[in-house]
Symmetry: C2
């Protein structure tokens, strides 16, 4: 039969990156395209041990249905973890465990946006977020980025305009794709604008623990005295992504709606993951583990940057203070899509930068490189492929 | 701040049953209210063994990101399992692994319904499904039930009416809450009406493997030559619910939209669950395991029915051929809500039947009893509480 797809989903296209990754069965392909955490950062030994203990000592507790908000012991462990450096979970807030942080983007949009509503977003930004927002028929309005985060004048204009955005989406730490970090001053200003105009901030912080340089900056949520900030963070990058575990902290009244959205979707999060998370947070030295991951990422990032400087001096990029990505800018005489295609022909995948723009058809000289997934050897080979492609293109 | 909740979510209330279950910390309370599978039916030993092996032999495969459609080996194992008795996955169909079968209801509604659209449902039916559908601002139109399934004349009227329903939701096997099974003749008729009027059927089959009496009947999906039927089935009742694993089979064109909906929500299903499922399907004797579960459920159901016959002859109920529920009908002189409240005062939880109606305010003499979760001792104590309540109410 001919299915009539809903207005909100008609015309939606699958995520460019996930489609690239699906086609990556070619073992010779080097991928700078994904956003996978480094596999050697997974606490695999501890997970195996805790999993065996749980399934031995309390199989029914792991295998039976649980509550929508999350396994109580896991929620409590996550609350402590979230609040260990800053006051993230406030007195009027609640915390829910969800099946990956993208699910938070889904549910927040479901609960706050009618079709046709505006969502303000950093531009460029995480394309998966755009997908979640657009699946509810929202209209995205991009706010351009500066070195230290979003352009505040533009943001205020967007907040002041009618229709007013239903929320503002940002990744203050090591933003995807640019790797930029929002300064403390800008975080304060964004919060002040949120309060002034009554526009909630959806602060997505999947990479916050992955700092490799500079000083930590408090999350916007920690400034929040009014319940304006919805905070999303993930265990994908500091434990592992296969278990699909993240958490959301927000005002209790909004949380009631998010809980109902979850009841109507996957009912509750996988219990094994929640229990593993609780065990890791309470029995493993998480600070040492995070330092170890930072070490791995620092080394890979520095290696990639050093090779780019040596072999591809034409490519400018932002030196990130953390995260998993470098945001490259090609010289004007190199056409970006052509560059990406030629790299792929030589078996290197990178993501064309326009995929991260609200309007994909805007001119774009950027592309995104991931340094967390490839090995150091693959990083070297990949940068050499880029150098070869640049030579090839500039000789023509 | 005051959050403005979207039209679709405003006024949505949490699931009655999940709220009851949350308050069930009282260890003395006997619950006939939940829908938990019997914990002794979980293949806990096998899960522990396979989990340990997987995490030892291929930790990265279990812990890293995976693809939205599902881990290939797990999808293939599930496809074989789905097709072992009937042709469920047709040539033009695709299969996706999801985080519990409620997620299918979520995504199907997201992809097929605009706000204000009509969804036709068996009435009474699974209240979690109503929640999923209503979270998209749909309007539910109930079709009444007969002993052998939905009333076909009413169904045809609803299919023929404008606005035409975007799909028809039914549970042909051991329906929740009534325990009724749709006859073969009605399945054929429902499929024929679906084709005639171009209304897709969402066939939810979470209990299909839990037959305790009578002969198996082919799912509606197995009759499907036109792609009209969307089939949803779960591993919650034959493996365990804590792992949140289910699958959906439908026409490839619709599947493309469902995959995008999942990319925009939880990206992919927990990998550990998928891998455990694949191991159980390929290495355990699933037929023997299912027979064992049937034995447990048969014994409990018969025990509850025998006790009801003895101690509460005033309560009529439908003798189910499977599933997890008995649907009780109280005599006219017993007010149902009062009965439920008095049971709760004596520490027995049952679910008031109106919770399963499209219009909860309709008069209702029914209530739902679950026989899979309580022990035989608890079943006895619970039925005795009902008997005491009935005496108390009829003496007044």
């Amino acid at each position: 039969m001919d299915f009539q797809i809903s207005n909100r989903m008609r015309g939606m296209k699958p995520s460019v990156i996930r489609e690239i990754l699906k086609q990556m069965s070619d073992p010779e392909l080097i991928s700078f395209a994904g956003g996978n955490p480094a596999a050697d950062s997974f606490p695999a030994k501890e997970i195996a041990q805790f999993s065996a203990e749980m399934l031995e000592q309390d199989p029914v507790g792991v295998l039976q249905y649980s509550v929508t908000e999350g396994v109580p012991a896991a929620r409590e462990a996550v609350r402590k973890f979230a609040n260990r450096h800053y006051s993230v979970v406030k007195a009027n807030d609640d915390l829910i465990l969800v099946s990956g942080s993208q699910q938070i983007l889904d549910f927040v949009t479901k609960c706050l946006c009618n079709e046709g509503d505006v969502v303000a977003v950093e531009n460029p930004a995480f394309l998966g977020a755009f997908l979640s927002f657009r699946c509810y028929g929202t209209k995205l309005v991009g706010v351009s980025m500066e070195e230290d985060g979003v352009n505040l004048e533009e943001l205020e204009k967007v907040f002041a305009a009618e229709p007013k955005p239903r929320f503002f989406y940002c990744i203050p730490n090591f933003q995807n794709p640019t790797g930029r970090t929002m300064s403390e001053a800008k975080r304060k200003a964004v919060y002040a604008l949120s309060v002034k105009y009554g526009v909630p901030v959806l602060e997505d912080d999947p990479y916050g623990e992955l700092r490799i340089a500079g000083q930590a900056i408090a999350p916007i949520k920690s400034l929040d005295e009014t319940g304006n900030v919805i905070y999303a963070a993930s265990f994908s990058k500091i434990m592992c992504p296969g278990m699909r575990l993240a958490y959301c902290v927000c005002d209790k009244t909004l949380m009631k709606s998010l809980v109902i959205a979850k009841q109507g979707s996957d009912v509750h999060t996988n219990v094994w993951s929640q229990r593993i998370c609780a065990e890791l947070l309470t029995r493993m030295d998480m600070e040492a583990h995070i330092q170890e991951i930072r070490g791995i990422y620092r080394e890979k990032a520095q290696w990639m940057m050093q090779l780019l400087d040596e072999k591809c001096p034409e490519i400018r990029y932002i030196r990130p203070e953390g995260g998993m990505f470098l945001w490259g800018t090609l010289p004007e005489n190199v056409q970006m899509q052509d560059f990406v295609k030629r790299c792929l022909d030589k078996k290197l995948a990178v993501v064309p930068g326009n995929a991260f723009l609200v309007d994909e058809n805007q001119p774009c000289q950027n592309f995104r490189m991931n340094f967390s997934t490839p090995t150091k050897q693959q990083i070297k080979m990949g940068v050499e492929i880029m150098a070869a492609v640049l030579r090839e293109m500039q000789l023509q």
